[in-house]
């Protein structure tokens, strides 16, 4: 369930910076120690992104060691 709160954080972070451009790809870093499930993130992302500039964007998840949860970059079109 906490994946939903995390995905809201991702969608907020990218839509605030997209300046109205359509977001086609988002790259996030997820530390293995955070107990955040990549599959659950992808599922939630699709739902939360609907109706925003990130609708339909792909979510690339870089799994790293440690406890980082960070949006690295996005691709806009």
């Amino acid at each position: 369930m906490h994946e939903l709160a995390i995905v809201s954080g991702i969608v907020d972070a990218v839509t605030e910076r997209s300046g109205g451009d359509r977001i086609v790809r988002v790259v996030v870093e997820v530390g293995r120690l955070t107990a955040v499930l990549p599959d659950a993130l992808r599922f939630c992302f699709e739902v939360v992104a609907q109706g925003t500039a990130a609708e339909g964007a792909s979510l690339d998840i870089l799994e790293t060691d440690g406890d980082t949860l960070r949006v690295r970059e996005m691709e806009v079109a």
Binding site: M1, H2, A5, I6, G9, I10, D12, A13, V14, R17, S18, R22, V24, R25, V27, V28, L33, T34, A35, V36, E46, E55, G56, S58, D60, L62, E63, T64, D67, L69, R70, V71, R72, E73, M74, E75, V76, A77
Partner: protein, 272 residues
């Protein structure tokens, strides 16, 4: 309608609908063609912590509590470890000497808040509904409602869950994880994120040790394995074993909080 995302735009391309791995740090050219490569696209660096919003609100809570010199503890555990019972007992035993207020987090009902009030402390109940953890925004509202007294103890009882609450800073000074002997003595290594995030581990229900297969020394070793700086208290909130040490520690923390000041401010100056 687009068959991939369900949107009404027929003209855009989904160029990542095939699985491929991106090795960490590799943002160079991929070894396959992108169908929309001719389109103007740009990469924008974001570099933002995903929980930044929660962390900002938590920092606000922390500042507010510091202004009032309120010692705030975030109690976390799996359901049924005895957080509420420990708080009830603490209120009954220390309530005469210490001002205590409690923020109760549960998915539903105000049963715990009523138990806390019956024990003699003020309490506000947060119901998270489908949510599995408290977040800093919920706690900000609850602090406003409960209005903790200067120099008091504010106990925040999180939703019973050993996973999600580890990620969400509420603005507390310390996190205390409560485990009990009716759970496995391997909990610390099975849920390392929570035990690593906590400053203190309490092992509760030791009155039941004759009836269960639980190795206290192994439990403590496993706490140390994931978090060698954690302080451990072994106690029974119902029978009273070990509570003296816990109370001494708690009282000392509340007293220490009263000596903290905001940087550059004189203690007590200009505060509500």
């Amino acid at each position: 309608m687009c068959a991939v995302c369900g949107c009404s735009d027929d003209h855009h391309h989904h160029d990542h609908d095939h699985p491929h791995d991106h090795p960490p740090q590799d943002h160079g050219p991929h070894g396959h063609p992108h169908p929309a490569a001719g389109r103007a696209r740009s990469i924008v660096a974001v570099e933002q912590d995903i929980l930044a919003k929660n962390d900002r609100l938590a920092a606000g809570n922390r500042r507010r509590l510091l202004e009032r010199q309120v010692f705030a503890v975030n109690f976390v555990s799996s359901p049924g470890a005895g957080k509420t019972t420990l708080l009830e007992r603490t209120i009954r035993d220390l309530g005469g000497r210490l001002a205590i207020a409690v923020i109760e987090g549960d998915q539903a009902t105000d049963r715990d808040a009523r138990r806390i009030r019956a024990a003699g402390a003020r309490a506000v109940q947060i119901n998270t509904g489908a949510g599995c953890h408290l977040d800093a925004a919920m706690v900000a509202r609850a602090i406003g409602d409960i209005d903790p007294a200067r120099g008091s103890l504010l106990a925040i009882e999180n939703v019973g869950n050993l996973v999600c609450p580890a990620l969400f800073d509420l603005g507390e000074r310390l996190k205390v994880v409560v485990a009990s002997v009716t759970e496995g003595d391997d909990k610390p290594i099975k849920y390392p994120a929570m035990f690593r995030a906590s400053d203190v581990a309490v092992l509760n229900k030791v009155d039941l040790l004759p009836h269960v297969d639980f190795d206290v020394a192994a439990f403590i070793d496993r706490v140390r394995e994931v978090n060698d700086g954690a302080r451990v208290f072994v106690l029974s909130a119902t029978r009273g074993d070990g509570l003296g040490d816990f109370y001494s520690w708690l009282s000392a923390q509340v007293a220490a909080e009263a000596t903290r000041t905001l940087a550059g401010k004189v203690a007590g100056a200009g505060l509500a």
